[in-house]
Amino acid sequence: MSILRMSKTLLKNLLHGPYTVPYPVKRKETYERTRGKIEISIDDCIFCGMCERKCPTGAIQTDKSKALWSIERLQCIQCGYCSEVCPKKCLRMENQYTEPSYGNVRDEYVKCMNTQSPSES
């Protein structure tokens, strides 16, 4: 008979104090490789459409005529394939993930002369 085998571990935990990360207050550190969301340096983009073709879910749209690169955030599976195939290496995997939302999120990036402006619709 060995009952309460767990108690040693339990008391150890009790003395150690919680292992919990107080999340909204303090974030757990991310790693360099952490895949969060795809960001684009729109200025470098040449709108070749490689990312659009390779994206397994079809989350990315490019429009060469309008100089528009857009991504459906709710379709992106963070596989990073687009950033791998990007010939200009202008797509980059950020550490921070996309925030939850109340509806569809489509981030559009338009290559302007000097500025980039993400707008949400």
């Binding site: 919990t20 999340y23 379709q75 599976i77 993930y97 939850p100 109340y102």
Partner: protein, 140 residues
């Protein structure tokens, strides 16, 4: 005083998820993330739940189940679609047996992106759903 926001109870249903989001939902309960800090309890029973977390998209056989679970939850209630499959069908959107996002079957309040959705994301999503609960409560 409204306490709806202080004790959200969760019902988790796995649509056609690949388990990735499922285990992340479960990971939220574990010591590292411990959502019980916010009073969140994973009840597993629609009649006790305030928030329905759905992971994975919905397929033919799941439609009545999801509808029924939603139906059996007492008001005010909110639906959180966790993971890309649940929000849009994701990589499986083109499969013959996948209807698409959960939104096609029941009204979804919060979309949590990610493949798989990170526990932090899920917590954020639930917190967002709390505001919706509060609004719905006032409407009643």
């Amino acid at each position: 005083m409204s306490v709806v926001k202080k004790s959200p109870w969760i019902l988790h249903y796995d649509g056609t998820s690949c388990n990735g989001c499922d285990i992340e939902v479960l990971a939220c309960l574990t010591p590292l993330y411990d959502v019980e800090r916010f009073g969140i309890i994973n009840t597993g029973n629609p009649k006790h739940a305030d928030i329905l977390l759905i992971t994975g998209s919905v397929n033919e056989q799941n439609i009545p189940v999801v509808k029924q679970l939603y139906e059996q939850m007492p008001d005010p209630k909110a639906v959180v679609a966790v993971g890309i499959c649940a929000t849009s069908g994701g990589i499986f959107a083109e499969c013959y047996n996948v209807v698409g996002g959960v939104g096609k079957v029941i009204p979804v309040d919060v979309y949590v992106p990610g493949c798989a959705a990170r526990p932090e994301s899920i917590i954020d999503g639930v917190v967002k759903a709390l505001d919706i609960l509060e609004v719905k409560r006032k409407k009643r």
